[in-house]
Symmetry: D2
Subunit: 341 residues, 4 copies
């Protein structure tokens, strides 16, 4: 069986596991106060060229979005997101659970448009009854998006400008950021992101860690008593070392680059093969998620050999599916997959 279902179906990159082994019996203080966590924070600050960045490690993506968004927003504010944003669709209402509305704007290849954001804010502020409405309090984007697409540097700059004009913190969900960074089409470096965003997170789970997401507050803007707020959200790990050590390993010897590159290169190989075979792409994703429109009958056969993700119904006889590659995907498996298609 071939596995292209997602980018989190293996454990951790062996170097990360090895680091957990090597440090295993050290006595370390809990809740993220250990020295490996500090080392990892420093590496992130350096890579972002943002010495004032404050970094926290949480366990998973939904948890991170929930904790960050709830802590940053005032109680009467909501978060603006593309209608396809993960926080809007696939987090089981985790944001609303904390009392905040997700205010949706149209998506364009999974992305928010700066001009539409500006129009939205102007309409909101110009509405006589806006005191009876949810105040927009921050902006959520994902990069790469849920559709595998990337913001250009200009797009992010424009979004960032609109956000600053309206005093909206800009938050980037980087669940697949490490993969995105390795993509030739990507225009945004970590320092760019640290500069243009107020908060972002670098996902570990989909980049070869067992778990863990690194939240970066780039503008001396960590919410007050954030550790307490993490605890209150049930998100504080007793053995904080588990995240700290993994991120320290991920950012040692450019392991994060190696992991991202493998995902991107195997995706490129698969994309090229699919193109040659004339498959219909649902969109133009340059990263490690490939979306195809397939005939249902063809999919029925494929199921016996390949694990893929159902994305959505296209029409009565076609379905959109996703193949994902990861740090762990081998070229051999891509070739086997292509030989089946």
């Amino acid at each position: 069986m071939l596995y292209f279902e997602n980018d989190y179906s293996e454990g951790a990159h062996p170097k990360i596991l090895q680091r957990l082994m090597d440090t295993n019996m050290e006595h370390l203080s809990g809740y993220g106060s250990d020295r490996y966590t500090d080392l990892a924070k420093n590496k992130i600050r350096d890579l972002c060229k943002c010495p004032e960045a404050e970094v926290y490690f949480l366990v998973g993506g939904t948890q991170t979005n929930q904790t960050v968004i709830d802590s940053v927003l005032k109680s009467y504010e909501g978060v603006i997101a593309a209608e396809t944003g993960h926080v809007s669709v696939h987090e089981a209402g985790a944001i609303e659970f904390t009392g905040h509305k997700v205010l949706t704007l149209p998506q364009h290849d999974g992305k928010l448009c700066a001009r539409e954001l500006k129009d939205y804010m102007e309409t909101f502020l110009g509405d006589d009854s806006h005191e009876h409405m949810v105040f927009p309090g921050m902006v959520y984007i994902s990069h790469p998006t849920e559709y595998g697409t990337l913001y250009t540097k200009d797009e992010l700059k424009e979004l960032s400008q609109v956000c600053r004009r309206f005093k909206l913190p800009l938050y980037m969900d980087g669940a697949r950021l490490i993969t995105g960074l390795a993509c030739p089409e990507n225009e945004l470096s970590l320092p760019d992101i640290a500069d243009l965003c107020d908060i972002f997170y670098i996902g570990g789970t989909k980049a070869g860690a067992l778990c863990g997401e690194a939240v970066v507050f780039t503008k001396n803007n960590t919410p007050a008593h954030f550790l307490t707020q993490i605890k209150q959200h049930g998100a504080l790990l007793a053995k904080g070392r588990l995240c700290g050590i993994q991120f320290d390993a991920l950012f040692s010897d450019d392991l994060y680059k190696e992991n991202g590159r493998n995902a991107i290169e195997t995706a490129a190989l698969l994309r090229e093969g699919l193109r040659q075979k004339g498959y219909t792409f649902y969109n133009n994703s340059p990263t490690n998620q490939l979306f195809l429109v397939m005939e249902n009958s063809r999919l029925e056969e494929l199921k016996n050999d390949v694990v893929y993700s159902f994305w959505e119904k296209a029409d009565d006889t076609h379905t959109v599916i996703r193949f994902a590659t990861s740090w762990a995907t081998s070229r051999e498996d891509v070739e086997k997959l292509l030989s089946l298609l």
Copy 2:
């Protein structure tokens, strides 16, 4: 100055105030356990031809929507509403405040479409990842809608059928129901509504009461310990008599009909006058809210003589405004308004 801003800018119908006067010094027990509240409940049961109906009185519309929706939904469920639904747009996030997402569907003249609801539910249930999404747990509609429109009997029947098929309680926001009932175009009687909906409320505030909304559970489906839940939402009135007596008066001697009729008849007079003068209507509302597309320059002049509601920007030189009539609107004021237009 002429007042067509909304349908709640006067106090109460004099008969309602008189009833408060007449009963004022009676000693009555608190929290809705008094006999006037019981009388009002019985009148509502009778009018709905629904002897098993359970009735509760709350103070305002947003409070009612918040308390009912939160009490009916399970914690992981959201409420489906038209994208223009009051709960989605104009309640300052009161639903999300209680932890629930408002799941929006397209609006058609402010209404939900049964077929689209069915498609939505089938797509949801057919989605492999729906366990990661908010479960639709009830359906919210308003009648008349926020756009003054009315569901036909067939439309409500179809919605009700889809709701039952998917075990979704159907909840009708009747903030302006009493006005709707008086409209010649209205096809839905109180017994129809009690039959087709699982929960609805009859608004008092916009029908000539000082405050108060009557929530009706029609299917032996009152949430457990609903009084406690009302209290928990800060919505339990110590002097419950204030709502009970007013609703008792509203449903005595057909006062509710009289109030609804005045709103509808003055609206009809205004609509006809506006038509004759060639004004552009934004939509085709048969009830007491009239939406017009007006030139901004014309509105500037009008401001000196008339209070109206800004609705939304139509384009750079035009604005959508609303004129509302009520139980208290006089034909003279309508004629004066028409003479100004």
Copy 3:
């Protein structure tokens, strides 16, 4: 039947109802933006000798506590209250519903002790693990308390000093404040309270209004977008005039004093009569709530003639009950009650 069950079993003082009558057909804008509401706010500012006070009217006491406390606290903070505080015991968890813990301290005649508050804060701050605990974010007291008792001026000063030292806003629940003000034993004037407290509310419901509580922020400390937060909590009245007009009447011609005085004087008459008859008082309440320890057998007989409140079981054969007087209690009824006892 005699009614001494509570201080909210009648409607409104006739002068208040009359004012609602007199203003009934005036067109007034909604949501508290009318001129009667403004008049009432000015009267409160004057009485408090606090020209910078910001005043808001809400409908009921639990709603007021819920909205104020949730709006003032940061999301990771709780409110300190006496273990007998209304917010802790009798509001169906309305505070926790908004995500905040009620942190309880011992009660002394229903009151918080400044020294115990100081010790609590020092212990909290001295605890190594306090980042894992709920941060105390404000202090709730009631005056008169749930037990009818009053803070002395020294007691409130000391509390206020401790609060300021620890930057804890001090909030007074004045559900029965108007009655308290009329009590000869009361040492605290409205200006004292406005000076020593950061926020307080003056209850209308128990002082002769149909409903309504006036929240006063005394230190330019109204929470941001408080109107939106009121709406979000379901607590914004469309016909805001209902509260504004009533409070305007209550603070005209010293009506509030008259109402408070009647409650206090009839309570004094009842207290003296009970004393002479040798009844056992549960505590030493100088205000309009009298708590007695009665034999259960005696209570069984009394039930036929008098409505009183069960307070708590004293022992197997005795019960604590409460008699309450109000603005509406007549001396005749007190005498009748005494003749029965």
Copy 4:
């Protein structure tokens, strides 16, 4: 430096890490749907002699308490706990964050008393105003408690009986259950606990796993759509294998017994040594947490050589501290510690 600060300052038992290594490159489906998670669930069912048990794995203790309690309680209910219960004191308000009150009863060596629980319930139900109060909806206990103490079988039976009589689900926080099970004084086996409790969790974090807690619903009582509720609470791990594999290892070859035993045996050695040296114990904990009353001056010296936990101030010159042992504590370290004391 000697480390006796807590029982989570090392990584994982080497056998657990090794299992993560061995399975690392297997492709497994996400969110706990993998076969190792199934194996772990079956092992827990077998050990509990409860074939119908439903088992879920969460990441940490506070998260588990928050998710379980919020999912089990109805929205108007609270959870009863000892005043020293972890959920009441040391979870930063995680329970209140989800809208529920923690209703506290007195603690006796950290334990709830069945008779007091019964009295509490009878008083609650007998209170005329209990509809205005938080309904008790479940009972939380910890075993071992926060004070290292254990419920006897009789104590748990009595608690369980009272809970059943009042239809209160009984929930046991077993953060240190594996340690408790290894204690000679412990009377409660896993089958006993599965029989007497409705829900409990077996802590992995403090028993030699990197993270992970196993929640067991023993009475076909898993909350509806619990997976969705876990996700909504931000508690669903993408790589669910991380918990599944660790618990599979922990329950293979009696590793959990080995880990518990080491913690208990090293604690016994330390306890005996302390006793011989005449140290004052704060309480009589038979498990791996030892609480001592120490002179502050002595503690100042000790700090240079030993890491321990501050517990609370005893008086002006004494402090209560905690030494904790774990699966990783060596006899040599205990002896070194004793030589210092």
